[in-house]
């Protein structure tokens, strides 16, 4: 949030401990979920992140499980040339990591406005934790490359007022399903979302967040914007 974020009270717990990888399951060729046993004193709010440390490396990941869940689960996409995501994709269950956190302010803030959740790829992670704790009646735009990436559709569809996978990697041909939007999430915001005042939650790639904020400023000017940039 630019300069404002530098001076806001960070609800950060910097204690460190060790957590153990219990399981991993691949959702697509390059995206997977990892599950750690939740330390008894680790408390977080849906939307917050945990930082994992391994040697000199450390990375923050949004938590997809709900507070009170016996496991901390993360949804991770392997980044080409990435070191931590590749490590997490390869290590065996039983591997131990130092952790710190939770960190972050990207939490749901109820208001009379309709929530519009926007994500690209694994940017959907914080919304999963929010839905697990009762969030419903939202619009969710999920920017993905193909329908294989609608990996949490069954979790979101029952809770959402409108769940729209936005598929940008299809090329000129028609998408296989009519229940998707053929284009970027920002195309949907520009072409389909009715004018009005919303609470926008933006999570994912920097370019998406920047473009979405420009659209909000231009088309939905009395809205609120909360954002989390993944990479």
């Amino acid at each position: 949030m630019e300069e404002v974020s530098h001076m806001s009270t960070p609800p950060t717990d910097t204690r460190k401990g060790t957590i153990t990888l219990e399981s991993r399951r691949f959702l697509t060729e390059d995206t997977f979920e990892v599950s750690f046993r939740c330390p008894p004193d680790f408390q977080f709010v849906p939307g917050q992140r945990i930082r994992l440390h391994q040697g000199q490396l450390s990375r923050e990941y949004s938590i997809i499980s709900a507070p009170g869940d016996p496991h901390i689960r993360l949804c991770i996409r392997m980044i080409k040339g990435g070191r931590f995501s590749v490590l997490l994709a390869a290590v065996q269950p039983g591997a131990r990591f130092l952790y710190s956190g939770p960190t972050g302010h990207f939490v749901f803030q109820p208001s009379p406005r309709s929530p519009v959740l926007v994500a690209t790829g694994t940017g959907i992670a914080p919304y999963l934790s929010m839905v697990s704790t009762g969030l419903k009646d939202f619009t969710l735009l999920h920017g993905i490359r193909d329908e294989l990436e609608t990996y949490y559709r069954d979790r979101f569809e029952p809770a959402a007022r409108l769940y729209v996978p936005c598929i940008s990697g299809k090329g000129p041909e028609e998408p296989a399903s009519l229940e998707v939007f053929p284009g970027r999430v920002t195309d949907y915001l520009e072409q389909r979302l009715p004018l009005g005042a919303y609470d926008f939650y933006l999570c994912g790639r920097r370019e998406m967040v920047q473009d979405a904020v420009r659209l909000v400023d231009a088309r939905f000017s009395d809205s609120r914007v909360f954002m989390e940039i993944f990479y």
Binding site: V4, M7, T9, P11, S111, V216, R224
Partner: protein
């Protein structure tokens, strides 16, 4: 997570509570002043001798309180998120008054205006004091715009900033005294 978002390049920024506002709005202006004040107190801390660890701890406590005030200023008063924020209360203001009284008790009585300056630490304290007064004026501007609930939430932060400038004045005198620098009175 990256520290820069690139979403403010066209002159707008997001409040903590999500509203998009112009960067020259009274609320962001006040945030900036409190941030500058905090920065100057950090500079002051960096020139205070380690032996004065109690004073350093006091100043760092004040810096934390200024973060709270920054968060309150960066949040729309009608946002439910306001409930989540840590407040500045009458107790914080009283704590600052006690620190002023304790420092002042060690100093000679004041008989007139003093020229800001002296030891480096005193100069930083005076600079912070002047910025503190400016921050106070900006918070008053926010209050002038805010509806009633917002006014009440900023009542004690405003009082805290007011007392903080007095504290910084007394602290500047303390810094000069502890470094053997006499007060320099204003001469007509």
């Amino acid at each position: 997570m990256k520290i820069y978002t690139g979403t403010g390049d066209e002159g707008k920024s997001s409040l903590f509570s999500g509203e998009r506002v112009m960067k020259n709005s009274p609320r962001l202006d006040a945030c900036g002043e409190v941030d500058e004040l905090n920065t100057l107190i950090g500079a002051l801390v960096s020139v205070i001798p380690d032996a004065e660890d109690g004073l350093i701890a006091q100043l760092q406590g004040i810096q934390s309180h200024l973060f709270r005030i920054g968060a309150l200023l960066a949040t729309s008063p009608d946002s439910p998120f306001m409930e989540e924020l840590e407040r500045i209360t009458e107790e914080h203001v009283q704590g600052l008054e006690e620190q002023i009284d304790a420092l002042e008790a060690t100093l000679s009585p004041l008989s007139g205006f003093l020229l800001p300056g002296g030891h480096m630490s005193a100069s930083w304290a005076h600079m912070a004091r002047a910025v503190c007064r400016r921050a106070e004026r900006r918070v008053v501007s926010v209050l002038a715009d805010a509806p009633a609930p917002g006014s009440s939430l900023l009542k004690w932060p405003l009082a805290y900033i007011n007392r903080l400038s007095d504290f910084l004045f007394v602290l500047a005198r303390h810094c000069n005294r502890s470094h053997g620098k006499p007060d320099v009175p204003w001469k007509r």
